[in-house]
């Protein structure tokens, strides 16, 4: 427990795809953060961190979205995001997008220091472990690239998942190899992306696990979509859902 | 192409003053030399450790290791070199023929007594030369071009014998750099680290790509 604040005010940034595609991850995040002793707020006017614009080279548009985000979130003690790549966008890249704007650069630097990916926040800042959560399943874990390489997220989700009773974790060969999602890459170069995720799906199937977990919905959607299209029975969920005790619900692509 | 030279150097001078990443403008030669020297500091932090405390043992471990793939013999003195070479050739099923580096220490030996026919032409046959240094870190032997050291012979032979005096074995690559520092650089300084190999077809290692198929190092003395 490295936190100096007893009941920090946390702004939850759900991310644009969680907002639309899988609200369950947002609810799981709220539940976990509250259990970890935080006062959670979900700013109603939040939209997107700007990552698609940034990675497309549209820096002006990115800067505008970054300013909007900073305005909405800078009052919180912490900003928590259930996605490694969106958290990395705020932590690592807002400063690049606002490099030419002195005043906003300072605000971006401040916000970067208090922005966390959900599982690393729970583990490192709050020292949180789930209690009395159970899921009888064998799961494997894919490490999404941004979280892994830009934020050093590797052991944090595994430490949390180990505290889930009856859950067995099976190593995934090539767990740190990109799944081929890459944001807009997966639609711009869909054939290449398909070849990459095809290999990933084979590796996942090869583990014999019934459940694939990860920390980034974009990557999880890519892998879940490929797995289901190729007839695999592997179910896919965000790790936060399992840790929050929502692992018995519908997986990605299953009817609610 | 003086024009090209001037324009390239001019362009570098101009961009030195922009202060972009990786550029620092207007630094004098002494400062550059000091900075370059500092980049060589603390070599222990940036180089591999030797497999053993003994430099010769380390050299042998590295040279015999899978990555270098040389064979190594140790003999007490030069007199037994022809017999050692003859034994290797017999064992390898090669003819008892050899081309040798035209240097007095090899020419003085009695090769005929060991049953070896010393020949002038080398193509694909055996060749013996004396190395100037050995380097334990990499299992390399070093030859320099000279009047008595034709470079081509080391690359045209099929079986390469390198004679290495135990006291000429250095620990690390930096020790070799220090040993030649200030000397006039030879036309060719070759660090030979195994036989000629290729992985160009499917990444599969094959020895004898163009040059030697085998490298046999004979360490003399220090036994």
């Amino acid at each position: 427990m490295t936190s100096a604040i007893e009941c920090p005010r946390v702004g939850l940034f759900a991310t644009c795809i969680v907002d639309v595609i899988r609200p369950r991850i947002g609810f799981a995040a709220v539940k976990l953060l509250e259990e970890a002793g935080c006062v959670v707020e979900v700013p109603e006017r939040q939209t997107c961190c700007g990552q698609p614009a940034f990675n497309s080279g549209a820096t002006k548009q990115t800067a505008a979205l970054a300013r909007q985000f900073i305005d909405q979130f800078e009052a919180f003690d912490y900003i928590v995001v259930p996605s490694g790549s969106c958290a990395a966008m705020i932590k690592a890249h807002y400063c690049e997008a606002l490099a030419d704007d002195h005043e906003w650069l300072e605000r971006a630097t401040t916000i970067a220091a208090k922005t966390w990916e959900l599982m690393s926040f729970l583990d490192e800042v709050r020292g949180y472990r789930p209690v009395g959560i159970e899921l009888e399943a064998t799961a494997t874990y894919h490490d999404s690239c941004s979280g892994l390489r830009e934020l050093g997220i590797l052991e944090q989700p595994r430490r949390l998942l180990k505290a889930v009773d009856k859950l067995k974790l099976q190593p995934l060969p090539g767990n740190d190899v990109c799944c081929g999602f890459g944001g807009t890459f997966c639609v711009k170069y869909s054939a290449i992306s398909n070849a990459i995720v095809g290999e990933k799906a084979e590796a996942i199937d090869g583990t014999g696990a019934g459940l694939l977990l990860g920390g980034d919905l974009g990557c999880l959607m890519n892998m879940a979509g490929k797995l289901s299209r190729s007839g695999s029975k592997v179910r896919v969920m965000h790790a936060a859902e399992v840790i929050a005790g929502m692992g018995d619900g519908p997986a990605i692509g299953e009817e609610e | 192409m003086t024009d090209a030279r001037d324009s390239i150097l001019q362009s570098l001078r101009e961009s030195s003053n922009t202060g972009g990443a990786g550029t620092i403008g207007g630094v004098g030669s002494d400062e550059i030399a000091a900075e370059a020297q500092a980049l060589l500091d603390d070599p222990i932090a940036v180089r591999p450790t030797l497999p053993s405390a003994d430099i010769v043992d380390s050299f042998i471990t590295r040279a015999r290791g899978a990555k270098v793939g040389a064979t190594v013999d140790r003999i007490a003195s030069m007199e037994t070199l022809p017999a050692t070479v003859a034994a290797y050739l017999a064992e390898a099923g090669e003819r008892a023929q050899l081309c040798r580096q035209p240097t007095p220490s090899l020419e003085a030996l009695d090769w005929a007594a060991a049953g070896i026919d010393v020949r002038g032409d080398i193509d694909d046959g055996a060749f013996v030369a004396v190395a100037l240094w050995g380097i334990s870190e990499t299992g390399s032997v070093v030859v320099h071009s000279a009047a008595d050291q034709p470079i081509l012979s080391s690359f045209l032979c099929g079986v390469q014998f390198i004679v290495l005096k135990a006291e000429r074995i250095l620990a690390h690559l930096e020790d070799y750099a220090a040993a030649v520092q200030g000397d006039l650089a030879p036309r060719n300084a070759c660090l030979i680290t195994g036989a000629s190999g290729t992985t160009d077809i499917e990444g599969s290692l094959v020895k004898g790509a163009h040059g030697p198929r085998e490298l046999h190092i004979i360490i003399v003395g220090g036994v």
Partner: protein
């Protein structure tokens, strides 16, 4: 250069359809990946070494003028003739002129990516000079009349079966079988004669040593020495970024280069060449020429200085998920993979090659394995930014990203739009999935899309909060 002949996407598509290509790439790149991991694992100082390597390169790049002139001075003192070339055309013309002055009929070449960059193979052919590629992979590429598909393994795209076919149809000494050792033996016999009959030998340089004027070549085959020793003339072509202050600095970088490239600890033949044959020497070339090539490097020093650190190890492409699927030729440029996608816009122009920086998932693996810490994903993103600014991005992309960003900056409008999007998407759902939907073909052609629930998170969360607190 194949850029412009077909589109990147078309080349990638045909590469994806080629199962043999995938087999060939996986055999070699997979091998290289494993060997590198082992070599780095056995060298716990690797991280410290690469920080040092990066500093050495940055120091040289910052003081390039100093080191170039120092190198030139020492090279001339050793008897070398130093030439300077601003462009690829200038560089290949200098080489051809030296060959012509030497009355060269046959030229041997030891693999050099710079030679490919400046179009030397083509220039030699155009000048009617026989060109003999001596690196085994380059020899294969030459027989197949292709270009290299990888900077360390130019024939990575070929399986042993394909190599056997080439050798059987074109070697005088036919291979005894399709086994790789027999193929290598067949090439050995074919090339040996040619080494000894060449009039000029051309090599690249892995390093230029400023304080001695020597150049360094590294090979495992020994073809560099066989290329440069027998002919009367040795020509070196080298990019101006290849400088290092001294031998000691070269060794520090060599430790990184070899482990990152092949997973070895040291190349079999690491040779420093300094000037022509001395009067007392037993052998060696009578003339030694060094062509120092800019070709965009001074410009890179202003705009992309980090890229001048590159020591051409190829680790970024071996570890690139995109390269591993499509191979090198699909990039349509001299340098493929992540480093190539940064370099090609410099060499060929961004307009020609704007697709390359986009054909990347920005997963960061290339930067993780780079032995000199080049931030390749940032540099690739930098090209995307430039392409956007210069208006080179297609109208559809600009409109799509621009329109979406416009809406995302207006939260009220945005949440109305997401609510509508959810309703529309649900029209196409079957069970929990969407297998096809208009405007989502890029996704649904290959994968299912999860159907969204009725309410977005923001709506559902705030609705429940309002419900809980009447």
């Amino acid at each position: 250069m194949q850029v412009g002949m077909t589109s990147f996407k078309a080349r990638a598509k045909s590469a994806l359809a080629d199962a043999t290509l995938k087999t060939a790439i996986d055999r070699t790149a997979g091998n290289a990946e494993t060997k590198r991991a082992t070599a780095v694992g056995e060298f716990p100082q690797f991280d410290a070494a690469r920080r040092r390597g990066r500093k050495i390169k940055d120091h040289v790049i910052a003081n390039l003028e100093h080191y170039l002139t120092q190198f030139e001075r020492n090279a001339i003192a050793s008897g070398a003739k130093v030439h300077w070339a601003r462009t690829s055309q200038e560089a290949s013309r200098i080489v051809i002129d030296i060959c012509k002055a030497a009355n060269a009929k046959s030229v041997t070449r030891s693999k050099s990516m710079l030679g490919e960059e400046i179009g030397l193979p083509h220039a030699l052919e155009a000048a009617g000079i026989e060109r003999v590629e001596t690196d085994l992979a380059e020899h294969i590429v030459q027989l197949a009349d292709e270009t290299p598909s990888h900077i360390v393994w130019p024939a990575m795209h070929k399986t042993r079966e394909q190599v056997a076919e080439l050798f059987k149809s074109q070697h005088q000494e036919l291979p005894a079988s399709d086994a790789i050792p027999d193929l290598v033996e067949s090439a050995r016999k074919d090339l040996r004669r040619k080494f000894l009959n060449a009039d000029v030998g051309i090599s690249g340089a892995n390093f230029l040593i400023a304080d001695t004027g020597a150049i360094c070549t590294v090979t495992n085959e020994g073809n560099a020495e066989l290329t440069t020793t027998p002919p009367k003339v040795h020509i070196v072509t080298a990019g101006i970024e290849k400088l290092v202050p001294s031998l000691g600095h070269a060794f520090m970088l060599l430790r990184l280069l070899v482990r990152s490239a092949t997973g070895g600890d040291f190349t079999q033949y690491t040779t420093f060449h300094c000037g022509p044959k001395r009067p007392e020497d037993a052998d060696g070339p009578e003339e030694f020429h060094i062509v120092l090539v800019d070709n965009g490097r001074t410009k890179m020093r202003r705009e992309l200085p980090e890229m001048l650190r590159c020591i051409r190890c190829g680790a970024c492409m071996n570890h690139c998920v995109v390269y591993r699927q499509i191979g090198g030729h699909a990039y349509g440029a001299t340098y493929p993979g992540p480093m190539g996608s940064v370099l090609t816009p410099v060499l060929d122009g961004l307009k020609q090659s704007r697709e390359l920086p986009h054909a990347c998932t920005l997963n960061g693996k290339c930067a993780e394995v780079c032995p000199v810490e080049i931030p390749l994903p940032s540099l690739l993103r930098g090209w995307r930014e430039r392409s956007w600014k210069e208006g080179l991005e297609p109208v559809t992309v600009r409109a799509g990203i621009g329109g979406w960003a416009f809406v995302a900056r207006r939260p009220g409008l945005y949440h109305m739009a997401t609510a509508i999007a959810v309703r529309l998407m649900r029209l196409f759902k079957r069970g929990g999935r969407i297998a096809w939907m208009p405007f989502a073909g890029g996704w649904t052609e290959y994968r299912d899309l999860p159907a969204p629930p009725k309410k977005t998170f923001i709506n559902a969360y705030h609705a429940s909060r309002r419900g809980a607190k009447p």
